[in-house]
Symmetry: C2
Subunit: 403 residues, 2 copies
């Protein structure tokens, strides 16, 4: 019966369950800090300061469209053809028909979850993981089952036996992020092969968020799930131009699979929303022509930043930090109890000569309650001088916070 005591339309349980991002909760405190004229070094964000490829930005500036029309729901044909070429050059042997262009990697994740999981189905994800997986899971009615990876092991793949313990009849997939946000961990060929074996054994999908594919360091090479033998039925790649070309605002990504049923299903989700954005596809198509020097310079810059960051963090007493081999994040364990409190305190109550830092508390990247509460995620998307200063401030802050 209708409840006539409460005459108000109400939002959904689903909407109430949608998590807030671990960073968003801090935004009011950051705004307060700005008002107090504090300088805030943003170690919290994933928006790189790297310039987008000039060719991509020029392609949009030189557009000659008179009607900004829809493209095909699966993405413009020439763009899909060219992405297929990009994958083939990266030893991922797919064709245009195996690709659906999406509105960012975000939409590719939503399409993947919608295509492979019903309400109540489970997806196993090594934690810590990209916090927005939680939001897509809630939106899709999917239950995330975490398997813990540890800072002591540099966030390497947990033992396969740990995954196997968690598999139930409702398990539909294992989802990994490689290289990892927030860990910076790059899975080895051996680790990918182990994951491939377990999904084959249990009839699961292996979904790999490979948006940081290009960002690998120390001479290591990314090994994609679709380079592995026999993964045509099982593998789904999530990809995005956001980080690769520092084009986060394009909102262009893609879903890639050799499994025709997955593609035809995801296409139905794509058709419902009509088309990915047209200007952004122009930029993304042109970005595929970006010369290798661009990436070489970017990688050199990130390696320099990483080395600086990790070295300085290790010099702080009580701080433990993994050694990231990819992406541009690291998890640091601090000699504190609660990084949510600490992050808020940094913005609200601390400054060093009028400056402070904003960090992402890591608990939001874990699904298991109580884990990661003494960790933070640091994104090294700031210039080296800023990173040096930011870590100096962090060190002083830790001394004061603990004192």
């Amino acid at each position: 019966m209708l409840d006539i005591q409460n005459r108000m339309p109400t939002v959904s349980y689903k909407g109430q369950s949608m998590p807030e991002s671990p960073i968003r909760k801090l935004v009011p405190f950051a705004e307060k800090a700005y008002k107090e004229n504090k300088t805030v070094y943003h170690l919290n964000i994933g928006q790189p300061d790297i310039k987008s490829p000039v060719g991509a930005m020029d392609a949009v500036a030189h557009h000659s469209l008179e009607i900004l029309a829809y493209t095909r729901s699966e993405g413009s044909e020439p763009y899909r053809q060219k992405i297929a070429g990009y994958y083939q050059r990266n030893n991922i042997m797919v064709e245009a028909d195996d690709i659906i262009v999406t509105t960012g990697g975000s939409e590719a994740l939503l399409f993947a979850m919608g295509s492979i999981a019903d309400a109540g189905d489970e997806i196993i994800i090594p934690e810590p993981f990209y916090a927005n997986y939680n939001g897509f899971a809630v939106a899709s009615g999917v239950k995330i089952v975490p398997v813990i990876s540890k800072i002591e092991n540099n966030f390497a793949l947990p033992p396969i036996a740990e995954f196997e313990k968690l598999i139930t009849p409702r398990t539909k997939a294992i989802l990994i992020c490689n290289p990892g946000n927030p860990t910076g961990y790059l899975y080895s060929k051996e680790e990918i092969s182990k994951l491939a074996a377990i999904v084959k054994k249990h009839d699961l999908f292996l979904v790999a968020d490979e948006v940081y594919r290009e960002f690998t360091y120390d001479g290591l090479k990314h090994y994609s799930i679709l380079e592995e033998e026999g993964m045509d039925k099982y593998g789904i790649i999530i990809d995005s131009v956001s980080k690769r070309y520092s084009m986060c605002g394009a909102r262009i990504g893609c879903l890639v699979s050799k499994n025709k049923e997955v593609i035809s299903t995801a296409l139905k989700f794509a058709q419902a929303r009509l088309s990915p954005p047209t200007f952004a596809q122009i930029a993304s198509e042109a970005a595929l022509e970006t010369p290798q020097e661009y990436f070489d310079a970017v990688i050199e810059e990130y390696v320099d930043r990483r080395d600086t960051l990790i070295r300085l963090l290790q010099e702080i007493p009580g701080v433990k930090v993994g050694h990231p081999k990819g992406a541009f994040y690291c998890i640091a364990e601090l000699p504190i109890d609660n990084s949510d409190d600490f992050a808020r305190w940094l913005l609200e109550s601390f400054d060093l000569d009028g400056e402070t830092v904003m960090v992402a508390p890591a608990a939001g990247f874990y699904s298991t309650p109580g884990v990661g509460t003494n960790q933070i995620r640091i994104a090294y998307v700031l210039k080296k001088e800023s990173l040096v200063r930011a870590v100096h401030i962090l060190k002083a802050a830790l001394e004061q916070y603990r004192g």
Copy 2:
């Protein structure tokens, strides 16, 4: 237990249930017609041939971005401020904080459904309705409950008693499209007031897809649900720049509500996907400066097309057609049994001097099985000469098909 007889990861029931668009099913037949060098007049599509405002396209051409960065999840602040101004000029008294910029009206619909309905909840929609509502409903786990509107009444609002019969404890909202796709019907102030009264009485949301707001004819003015008194808690507007500025490929829309709980909930969905597309927001912001002459010319063009189309359709024996007062669609009832068959036959087996037409069978716009099977939707987004020729072909085709 896992079924070891069927060692294959499978797509979801949800994915299997996603409907294909009524037009998509015809695409292979259209492609066959092209191969046979037939000219196909597209009466099926919602992509206008009208040029986008020059100011909007130039704003993107003159961009000076070096980093294509995220905007805020709720949309860029200056753009939201300006849209609020647009609404105020249209007597819809909302502020920037009442608006979340979305990736097309499509995403606004998904956010609305996710924010107000859980799996199994019901939304009542007058049919025929925009076919993709079905896709968003499946993706959101929402059940659409149709209430039939009739061609005899020009698709006016069904009697409120018909809605009331369908309300259950799981009903969360009534959703209308005004002016209507596919009907072209423009709800009167009185009809909106009746809907407002029923949602207030039963604690429901009233969601209004007003993307065709600007397209009203014969001196009639659009009356928004948020012009109605006391709708702050109940009203949610879905909007889009796609049709207003002929910028379908921008993928910019918005969700508008004075209900703070709806906005803060929808914002969580927006945050999970980070940001709407940046270039498209530049175009959309500039489009708000489009001079009135642009719209006057567009409306004049559409009125001319509508008058031509309706007059010629009425001259075909056995054809019944509503008189659209808005948008750029009409539903025509044909003297046939099955418009799916007829639409396919038009592409596959018919031509008049090498020319044929593609129409959208209307059954896909109805949720009740078996209804609308003798109807088609026609979009008058082609130039007048093409419309004249297309209806001439349609007339000849009907004679041959029935003969």
